[in-house]
Assembly symmetry: C2
Homo-oligomer: 317 residues x 2
């Protein structure tokens, strides 16, 4: 089994490529749920939904979130009811929230709800929440500690970041849909998608036992750089790095995962960092990491798989 750890958009794009080149039953995408929140009495799971939409080809490429060909009639009616539409709910997008609400109300776990959504979208691989427990990503900023959605959506990432906290993580357990396979070293490898390390991957790594499992002998983990030419492709990563006093380079990302990382997929525009990464003991794959279309997603997915094999055979040698 291949495990991919994912946040939202970047993970969704690589996830789509992986879903194209890996047999469905062999691929599990573990998705950050630290951004999940309640809105209008619905449980909103932005990253899970982004990954599902991305793999099903329903996502809006231009907007970068939600569904394509979307309309906003319900939201307009909510505004007329005096509801603050700080989080945008498209009419089509509402269907996934209602289906999840319905399934949760009838006793399904978050994982079971997601599995049914994925099945009904014809998705062959497993898309699983990192945990069934409530873990909430909190962003520590110059205006105080904020919930992720408050920071990300309401305040458009404007506050200066000084740290992160994953409320509830200490007592949460990683979901049984994926963690036992990792803990028992029954997987071929782990791919860290080009997602934000602080707010997309760290919530997963922060669950009890996960980091230790990745450090085990025989575990193979590769990361795809979420930075290209010093910038994040999408989202506030480069800004966060600056505010944290860290260089916005792939080396910073690799160091973040250094205690368990075996390989690194570096964007071709950043190939001057290759020696430094190799000096850290990493196998490096240099390629175009910008996933401008499905073909590019598939190509990057193949590069990740090649690197996993290379790292694994190196260890075996």
């Amino acid at each position: 089994m291949i495990l991919a750890l994912s946040g939202g958009v970047g993970g969704a794009k690589l996830g789509r490529g992986l879903a194209d080149v890996v047999e469905g039953s062999e691929l599990t995408i573990v998705v950050n749920t630290g951004d999940d929140f309640d809105f209008l009495g619905l449980r909103i799971c932005p990253d899970l939904d982004s990954v599902a939409y991305g793999i099903a080809g329903l996502n809006d490429e231009d907007r970068g979130w939600g569904r394509r060909d979307e309309s906003w009639h319900c939201e307009q009616a909510l505004v007329e009811f005096g509801v603050d539409p700080w989080f945008h709910l498209g009419d089509k997008d509402l269907a996934i929230h209602l289906l999840r609400r319905s399934l949760l109300a009838s006793g399904a776990t978050a994982g079971e709800a997601m599995a049914q959504v994925a099945r009904s979208l014809g998705i062959g691989c497993a898309i699983v929440p990192m945990t069934e427990c409530r873990v909430e990503t909190r962003v520590i900023t110059n205006v105080g500690e904020l919930s992720f959605q408050d920071y990300f959506v309401r305040r458009r990432c404007e506050p200066m970041v000084s740290g992160f906290r994953f409320s509830g993580a200490e007592t949460a357990s990683p979901s049984p849909t994926w963690f036992p396979a990792v803990a028992e070293n029954r997987i071929r490898g782990v791919i860290l998608c080009p997602s934000n390390p602080f707010v997309s991957i760290d919530p997963i790594l922060g669950l009890p036992g996960v980091r230790a499992a990745f450090k085990q002998e025989g575990s193979t983990v590769v990361a795809v750089s979420p930075l290209v030419g010093g910038n994040s492709v999408k989202g506030p990563l480069a800004k966060m790095l600056r505010e944290l006093g860290l260089p916005a380079t792939p080396v910073t990302i690799a160091k973040h995962y250094a205690d368990f990382l075996d390989g690194f997929v570096l964007d071709v525009r950043d190939e001057h960092f290759e020696p430094e990464l190799r000096a850290m003991g990493l196998r490096v794959e240099v390629c175009d990491t910008l996933m401008s279309d499905r073909h590019a997603s598939r190509r990057l997915a193949r590069s990740c798989l090649d690197l996993l094999i290379e790292c694994g055979s190196e260890r075996a040698a």
Copy 2:
């Protein structure tokens, strides 16, 4: 205070007229909640919403339910997720369900949720659920006992009706938003809207103490005929009456309420029933009860108020 007891569409039309001619603070519309049900984890309150939409002028006159200028993008997406759309949810209509869900999730009562909805729609009068308890209208038919929505929406009123049951009514209490005023005889009068007596008004009358309160000395109750020329204006009333072996006439309706009724508003097309109704000891107002527009609703509302005054002064005399 004027109290109007209402089901869905007919009550909504008369409610609109009453809201136009009675000071908001003086009018309370008590709405049947026996048809309420859960769908996709949302609490759906069809009659409360019909009354609110009707009074706010948002209702779809042609369709007879839901909002005007409606779209169905969310429902289409739900169908693609494999959800059976037996109950239709328009995109705009979803807003009221989401707002209610949100308010209930944050601890509001059904009555408080409805009050906020009504306020945000600029509605001046009180629209209140008959009870805060769960009472479920069950329709006893030739194909077994059915939930109201199963009978009404799924099966399009096709099964033959032999009776009704209000599950939970025995232990439910009428809502404190309206019942104490009735029990303590502090109201000017009660209007039974031209709603179905069996499935719209009886659930309210079936709540403990309500019928007894209407029978009190000094209580004035008038009913508006829901039948015109032997037919129900909307809905399955005439069919139900046939199946129950009862004549589809205003006299049947008046007899249904005979133990507490003081006045009856009869449609002009049925004026030949006036002597029989008067012989029952009722004051009768004959007028056009078809509410084809807002003006007609207002006119009928005035007739109801006139009749209430007439009944009240008769008693005083």
